[in-house]
């Protein structure tokens, strides 16, 4: 049962334990699998308590898993833990109305208040010091399928984006994070994106269609200047994968508006026209919103 809960919670994929007598590794794994397995188990009284409990739970899971990793180098279940640890974590999509939660969160930021995600910078630094070696072992292991490796790379990019998105302004060095994302995107693209035989439920292109668009949208939160955006756009547009080139090109088109005004004529909802002449000499605020 614990195993089922764990695999549900992590959103990852159960590798399957070998059958037989309960070994020492089994017992260690059982205790690892008994860590809080659902965000609902925390019964949060408020958002702050929720995020603190979540952060504690994640850290506990990470530390316990690392002990397992060190103690049982030949046990394939350690890969399951590693994948679950970097897997996609989006606090706002766990129960409740994600839009309301996100709105409340951004309103706090707008008021200049502390945000509720408890960030332990030392813990993050410690984790970042040991992670590259873990990752290398995972990616070069023969016990892990190519698909599982693909999920890890995908999860890394997504969790990095999520971290930047949910903790705007609190990620040290916006451009440093962006460079990390770009490097991971390149690695992932070179390895997997050119393979068009993808699973239907696995929207690889989302990484480009959805997340790359965030660079412009959240540039203030990440302290990115227009020069930084240009650097990102040019980098993407020079890549060999068509999807990366296309995204880079779109970003360049957007940045070109810094030099060249819109020249299109638009129709308004009342059937009128909005021409470049009618817009001339005016300061304009465009509000682009989703009404779907």
């Amino acid at each position: 049962m614990n195993r089922i809960l764990l695999s549900l919670w992590s959103g990852a994929f159960w590798i399957g334990a070998p059958q037989g007598v309960l070994s020492e590794a089994d017992r260690a794994w059982e205790s690892l699998a008994r860590t809080p397995s659902s965000p609902r188990a925390y019964s949060p009284k408020s958002m702050i308590e929720f995020y603190e409990a979540k952060e504690r739970g994640e850290r506990g899971y990470r530390d316990q898993g690392y002990r397992f990793w060190k103690a049982y180098p030949d046990d394939p279940r350690r890969y399951q833990w590693l994948l679950a640890t970097v897997a996609y974590r989006a606090p706002f999509y766990w129960g409740g109305d994600p839009h309301l939660a996100a709105k409340a969160y951004f309103e706090r930021i707008a008021r200049g208040e502390e945000t509720p995600i408890a960030y332990d910078r030392d813990a993050i630094r410690r984790w970042e010091a040991i992670y590259p070696a873990l990752r290398q072992t995972y990616l070069s292991s023969e016990a892990v399928s190519e698909k599982q490796k693909m999920y890890l790379l995908h999860g890394e990019i997504r969790s990095l984006f999520e971290r930047m998105y949910h903790a705007p302004g609190r990620e040290p060095g916006g451009m440093a994070s962006v460079l990390k994302v770009l490097r991971l995107l390149d690695e992932y693209t070179d390895r997997y994106l050119l393979d068009l035989d993808r699973e239907e439920d696995f929207r690889t292109e989302d990484l480009y269609y959805k997340y790359v668009g965030w660079f412009c949208t959240y540039r203030h939160a990440w302290n990115l200047s227009f020069e930084d955006l240009r650097f990102i756009a040019e980098h993407l547009s020079k890549r060999s994968a068509p999807i990366a080139r296309a995204r880079g090109q779109k970003m360049l088109e957007l940045l070109a508006l810094r030099e060249t005004p819109f020249s299109q004529t638009w129709t308004t909802i009342d059937g009128g026209e909005m021409t470049p002449e009618s817009r001339k000499g005016k300061v304009a605020l465009y509000y682009i919103w989703n009404c779907g």
């Binding site: 957007l254 470049p276 605020l285 009404c291």
Partner: protein, 104 residues
């Protein structure tokens, strides 16, 4: 929207306009018009709404987000960002608009 309406009323006599660009990938054009008309009537929106449902796709912006783009008198892009992160990082919108109106 009430906030934008207030901004529009505050600055429109000095050569300022707000353009609302609704994006909806699922509705047809007629459905979109219907929906936005009802919305504008309900919220008392008086600034123009433009039909460019492919705007976000064209410039590679996140299709589900809400974005603000501020253009100067010369028609060049001054500012882009998410509605809230922009407010937090570069001061109140009113201030940015004042600056843009003051420069030629």
């Amino acid at each position: 929207m009430p906030r934008f309406e207030a901004l529009y009323r505050q600055f429109k006599d000095r050569g300022f306009e707000i353009v609302s660009i609704p994006v909806d990938r699922e509705s047809s054009k007629d459905e979109l018009i219907e929906k936005v008309r009802a919305f504008n009537a309900r919220k008392g929106v008086t600034f123009p709404t433009v039909l460019e449902p492919a705007f976000t796709a064209r410039y590679g912006l996140h299709p589900a987000g809400s974005h603000l783009m501020l253009f100067g008198r010369d028609g060049k892009l001054l500012e882009i960002g998410h509605i809230l992160s922009l407010r937090r990082r570069s001061g109140p919108l009113e201030q940015r608009i004042e600056q843009a109106l003051a420069s030629p």
